[in-house]
Symmetry: C2
Subunit: 354 residues, 2 copies
């Protein structure tokens, strides 16, 4: 590849836009085939130009997790943004309202306090904010526990000035989703409240979303790059992984130990569902090697199972376990297009926890 002749300094996240484009088109085609709206989650890439590409290919809008991410995307001219995270309390009101004045903003809530926060933002800004009610479908995270609770919140939203009830959402698309939706639809129909949208999320389960009756919208993030987790889930192959970390072997203290310059500051400490035995990333060129431990700047590799072993100074390519957290660690990323046109791109929405 062209950029390799320049031997970029390491550790370096590298993205192949040719693979990105194929990944984006595959997901859009799946959604088009099944009549699902695609609302990509930008948490994986955090780059406005890639969000714009997702919209150009047919996405109806984007998903962000935090107000700061939505601000970056609104700055880039993106007009339809769902913040799929509960916003709670006075410190969120001002920025949410300011955002709602300059873009079509929707949020999610699983409590009256979340609805109050959005209502205060809409009132102060003189804007409207859409609200989806989040329900739990087996992920043991946030979300109302019963269709009755969902109905009570939907009723509150419809009665609150400045807010529009947009429907229901869940993440991930777990086992309880179908049963929940059947009962919710029945209850909402009795009450006379329409459910405009039913939004489901998560790349690992994305390609079975059409099997859950009622789902109208898909929120997926990781599919743009893919990673070891999505490969493990069967949602992608290794060759669909658009991002790798380029690292250098900086020490070979023993026969079966190599140290690379990619530690937890580069790869994060996230494991796969397979746990510690599978290590902190996959070495493309030495798949038998295991990244057994990470310090901040050191990746410690066990080479016991390798016939060929990497040499000091050698460049290694690593597929991360969880690409979203890896992207968040870096200010910029080296992108190329099938080996050409390499350039550094700023990850404009990284690190925005608020």
């Amino acid at each position: 590849m062209t950029f390799q002749s320049h031997a970029p300094d390491t550790p370096m996240p590298v993205v192949d836009l040719a693979i990105v484009e194929a990944n984006l088109r595959r997901m859009q085609a799946y959604c088009d085939q099944h009549g699902l709206k695609l609302r990509p989650h930008i948490k994986t890439h955090k780059i406005p130009d890639l969000a714009r590409r997702q919209l150009a290919l047919g996405a109806v809008g984007i998903t962000c997790q935090k107000i700061g991410e939505a601000e970056v995307m609104a700055d880039a001219g993106i007009d339809d943004i769902l913040i799929s995270y509960p916003l709670i309390g006075a410190s969120k009101v001002g920025r949410l309202g300011a955002l709602a004045k300059r873009a079509h903003i929707s949020i999610v809530a699983d409590s009256p306090m979340g609805i109050e926060t959005a209502a205060a933002a809409a009132r102060d800004a003189g804007a409207r904010i859409g609200v989806l009610v989040e329900f739990e479908s087996g992920g043991a995270r946030v979300g109302v526990q019963s269709p009755q609770e969902a109905l009570a919140l939907a009723r509150l939203i419809t009665q609150t000035p400045g807010l529009d009830f947009l429907g229901l959402m869940t993440y991930p698309l777990g086992e309880r989703a179908a049963a929940f939706l059947v009962e919710a639809k029945r209850l909402f129909e009795v009450e006379g409240i329409a459910i405009p949208s039913i939004s489901a999320g998560g790349t690992p389960t994305a390609f079975s979303a059409h099997n859950v009756p009622g789902v109208t919208e898909l929120r997926v993030g990781t599919y743009i790059y893919n990673d070891r987790n999505t490969v493990d889930a069967g949602a992608a192959g290794l060759d669909d992984c658009a991002l790798h970390i380029e690292a250098t072997v900086v020490s070979r203290p023993t026969e079966n130990r190599a140290i690379i310059d990619a530690g937890s500051k580069t790869l994060s400490s996230d494991l796969t569902a397979g746990g510690a035995a599978r290590g902190y990333g996959l070495l493309r060129d030495y798949p038998e090697a295991v990244i057994v431990k990470l310090n901040e700047e050191h990746g410690i590799i066990d080479l016991s199972a390798c016939k060929e072993k990497p040499a000091l100074g050698e460049r290694l390519r690593i597929i991360p376990n969880h690409v979203c957290v890896v992207v968040n660690l870096h200010d910029e990323i080296l992108v190329h297009n099938g080996g050409s046109d390499a350039k550094m791109v700023r990850i404009a929405a990284r690190g925005l926890t608020r």
Copy 2:
């Protein structure tokens, strides 16, 4: 505290400079008492003003892990910088040389290739670079395995134009250090090579460094803030932890589950040596609660063991497991001085992996 009346947006890393000052003075006093030179590692705070405070209190210089960190500190006028990480290959030569032209730079090496890299930088820049040989003392990371190897590298350094042999270093200060040093001193004496400095690192073992004969310098980072790991190691108490994460309960889906807005993007996925059972951080006000799981923006808390349980919207204070990786995740930090003079400070050297 004053800043709490402003209710900062969350999640927010918060540092009490009064605790910082006490931590800095305690370590400097320990080093002064035992005739050890203190060379603090800035990887924990990554803030030039705090490095300058460490120097003002008596530190002989600072330690950085990457060239980018050293560049930020040199920009701030700091003149004596050890880069305690193996620099390998052509991509490191240019920046290392440029740095050596404007500050006193030393590096570590455990291979001839590391020495060659430094030599090329010194030659190209027309500058001198100090080199310490890193040895392994039980940490199973980098470093030469035997005093014989250390001697061979020291000999190479003394024979290489532009380089000065500065001594030996290790991290952490493990069980094999004392025996290694006895044998190394004997070998070096026979060869007639002086060992100007023996540098040891790590906050958990810091206060026993004087028990290892020959150690002349202490490289410690975490002691400035402390964290759950240093408390577990007995090197600090909970009240010596200068940094906490302020988070908000954003969902209370069930009786015994609370979700906070601090996930792995805020706390990192680092566990303590105690493993998953101890969770991803300590809740100061609910010590029986366990942060059982982190998603990127969600911290999932099990409240089963709590008599009192936090309410939706409540602010919680979290002591991180590993404060260095937490600091690296944030662009800025809220500092105050015992509750007064709160202000946001930029973490200038965060994210510098190269």
